[in-house]
């Protein structure tokens, strides 16, 4: 069957199970857009900026576990995708980005809207392709989706020159792959598993650190079995929240720079760390030389390059987390470890990291806690980056995987709104709350139009403190309160929302919080609430940069009572 390149691309996407794309057209991809009406099974969602397309594909991927697809034209379209591709790369989200390129004869000539996007995205993709022949498109698409989702997931970019979209070729979707350089290790090495089991069985004070790898691998039940069988306390990285139910007695919250005190103290005192599907990011470990000083470390990850990259490891196990844990669970003996767990519970009582002060003013922590209470936690939370992100990590309890969608590695402000678009498209039956800061929200505010055009019932909470809050917090704590370039004016968000056609409310008083959230929930369609909160509230606990995990700064309290 002879088809043109654009048709081959559509046929191949359908073969890979794609039904949704986020994109923005332009000259070089016009032949592709022109053919889209022939493929009504491919839903195209028009964003308002290509960065939004990449973040939306990322949010879609994280909420659904499927590969997210974004499309942009050559030159500026492609460069606008870069931030979103990098975010997906650092958080291991499966994504395929398709960009148009100038026609083949123009490549290398600095033609209008020509940019070397494969060169630019080299360090932020698992792999990328410049497709120079229409007959290669099918193979490239098959490889790209395979690479994006297999092993440690990540983004793959396919750059297609305009004339390749038009060129005709025989279409036959390959049934086999020939990827000699991509063979992820799935099964853990039995000898390593045995060694790990021995360490676990002998440990007095073990701690599990569960990361996003547990969620990606679908290993939540295996993780639960390991924790319960060995009675091992579990702490999470930011992106690991949801991998282990936080209502569980063995769950002790998030560790790291803004981790719960009891989680950090547990890691600090542990004699064994079982790190699962995580990569020892500096925001999780704090000072590396002071990390878990008394512990031996077991590290389970599918990416061999993560082993020993940041932290010395005693027993590495390379493999798929679900497979490795299943093998490990057979060899772990049932234990009680009452003393160790009650020790951590005591720290939890002494350091109640998530109590909320009684004040007249509206506290951001209170707002986020009330979203949790009102929804019963039965929602997908999508955050931006900064203070509201950390509060969303602390004042929510995540019970299920993929319920917190947040950019942990790259940390791009403005992630929240487009990622919420992606999450809502992926899970139309779920409630999706986009929790935004007033700073980051203004970076991708234009996606409100996408929400309206696609009629997506995303609920938006702006935690509006009129500051770039996290930066201001650092200025307060480490730069003697010199608030340079952090006081921030914004528009009247309610009027903005209404201008876009979205119902909205402003909340300034704590008594209005619950009714406002209830109104948002009852409202059919999107809803925005501008919560005008206490401007100089800080995120606590905090481990200052350069300090070890146990060197925790806590909120000054008049009285630190029992929980």
């Amino acid at each position: 069957m002879k088809l043109n390149g654009a048709q081959i691309l559509c046929e191949s996407l359908i073969k890979e199970g794609v039904d949704t794309m986020f994109g923005f057209p332009g000259g070089a991809v016009l032949p592709f857009y022109d053919i889209l009406p022939e493929y009504p099974q491919l839903r195209h969602i028009l964003v308002r900026h290509e960065q939004g397309a990449a973040h939306a594909a990322d949010g879609y991927a994280r909420a659904s576990g499927k590969v997210g697809v974004c499309v942009a034209t050559s030159g500026p379209g492609a460069t606008n995708l870069v931030t979103g591709i990098a975010a997906a790369y650092l958080d291991s989200a499966p994504m395929v980005a398709i960009t148009g390129q100038v026609a083949r004869p123009f490549i290398g000539k600095d033609a209008f809207q020509e940019i070397d996007i494969t060169g630019i995205t080299l360090p932020i993709t698992k792999h990328n392709y410049l497709v120079m022949r229409a007959e290669d498109i099918a193979t490239v698409v098959k490889e790209a989706f395979h690479i994006a989702r297999e092993g440690r997931p990540g983004p793959v970019l396919i750059d297609i020159p305009r004339d390749v979209f038009i060129e005709e070729a025989e279409f036959r979707y390959p049934d086999r792959l020939n990827l000699r350089g991509h063979r992820p290790t799935i099964q853990g090495h039995p000898a390593q598993v045995k060694k790990a089991a021995k360490l676990i069985n002998e440990a007095k004070r073990p701690v599990i650190i569960a990361g996003r790898g547990v969620i990606i691998s679908g290993a939540c039940s295996q993780l639960k079995e390991l924790a319960e069988k060995g009675q091992i306390p579990v702490v999470n990285t930011l992106l690991g929240l949801g991998s282990f139910p936080q209502s569980h007695v063995l769950s002790f919250g998030m560790l790291g720079m803004h981790g719960a005190a009891c989680a950090n103290l547990a890691v600090d005192a542990a004699d064994l760390i079982i790190a699962i599907g995580m990569r020892f990011d500096d925001r999780a470990t704090a000072k590396v030389s002071g990390f878990a000083p008394h512990a031996q470390i077991i590290h389970i990850d599918i990416d061999p390059a993560e082993i020993g990259k940041n932290i010395r490891v005693d027993v590495p196990i390379v493999g798929d987390v679900a497979q490795v844990l299943a093998a490990l669970n057979k060899q772990v003996t049932s234990q009680s470890r009452v003393d160790w767990i009650s020790q951590i519970e005591e720290w939890q009582r002494e350091h109640p990291s998530t109590t909320i002060r009684e004040t007249e003013s509206l506290l951001p922590q209170y707002v986020i806690r009330q979203i949790y209470e009102t929804t019963g936690g039965n929602t997908i939370i999508v955050t931006g980056v900064g203070q509201h992100q950390m509060w969303s990590a602390h004042y929510f309890q995540y019970e299920r995987p993929n319920t917190l969608i947040s950019s942990g590695g790259l940390g791009p402000m403005g992630f929240e709104l487009p990622a919420a678009v992606g999450a809502k498209v992926a899970c139309p039956e779920e409630t999706v709350w986009c929790i935004a800061g007033d700073g980051g929200f203004q970076m991708t505010i234009q996606e409100l139009a996408t929400i309206v055009q696609e009629n997506l019932a995303v609920k938006i909470a702006i935690i509006n403190n009129r500051f770039l809050g996290m930066v201001r917090q650092w200025q307060q704590l480490f730069y003697q309160r010199r608030y340079v370039a952090t006081p921030l004016s914004g528009p009247d968000f309610v009027k903005v929302a209404e201008a876009y056609g979205i119902a909205a409310l402003k909340v300034t008083d704590r008594l209005q919080v619950i009714p406002a959230i209830e109104q948002a929930m009852e409202h059919q369609g999107p809803f925005l609430i501008d919560f005008v909160v206490e401007p100089e509230e800080n995120v606590y606990p905090m481990v200052p940069p350069g300090a070890a995990l146990a060197e925790i700064i806590e909120e000054q309290r008049e009285e630190v009572g029992a929980r």
């Binding site: 026609a103 494969t118 080299l122 410049l130 004339d163 020939n178 000699r180």
Partner: protein, 189 residues
């Protein structure tokens, strides 16, 4: 810190050298030398990369290299028993008075004179870096005009090396030359 020898089998495709070199740069490594050439298998090239670093850091960069899709296999053969060679072309200033002395030095090193001109000779020498460095030092006294070195290539001794491919896998057919329209025949955007 020590010099490490990495050997890699890579797909013979455009941009592969860039992918490898860029990875070293962004992970903060300096490449001392890199040599690339075809192998006994069509579609695969072999790289020999010399890099300075601690054992742990070189192991990290080796694993990162292994993650590149176009890198089929990569191995650190520093501690293996290896044969390592480099080739250099050295153009030396030569006068009728010094020419025979240069030829003597070249003979001792089992190097070859590959070009003679009225005022210079060009020497081809193969060996490990030490041998080439020694010859270079001796020839320096005569005046060096120009030097080109290939960088080290290396292979483990014995039958099977770390890069030996067990089974001949089907290789993708080489791209056929196809006429692409010129800029006159096609408009941009």
């Amino acid at each position: 810190m020590a010099k490490h020898t990495l050997v890699a089998l890579v797909e013979d495709k455009p941009g592969v050298l860039n992918r490898v070199a860029s990875l070293f740069r962004r992970r903060g490594f300096n490449i001392d030398s890199i040599a690339v050439g075809h192998t006994e298998m069509s579609g695969l090239s072999r790289m020999t990369i010399i890099v300075d670093g601690t054992v742990a850091s070189v192991e990290q960069v080796r694993k990162q290299l292994d993650k590149l899709i176009d890198v089929v296999r990569v191995s650190d053969i520093t501690d293996d028993s290896t044969i390592a060679r480099e080739l250099a072309l050295i153009k030396v200033k030569a006068t009728p008075a010094t020419r025979s002395e240069i030829i003597q030095v070249v003979d001792i090193f089992r190097a070859n004179i590959v070009d003679v001109a009225t005022d210079s000779v060009t020497v081809e020498v193969t060996g490990d870096e030490d041998k080439i460095d020694s010859l270079f030092r001796l020839l320096k006294g005569f005046g060096i005009r120009e030097v080109a070195r290939t960088g080290r290539i290396a292979m483990t001794r014995g039958v099977a090396g770390p890069l030996t491919v067990d089974e001949a896998k089907p290789l993708r057919e080489a791209p056929r030359a196809k006429r692409v329209k010129s800029t006159d025949e096609i408009s941009n955007l």
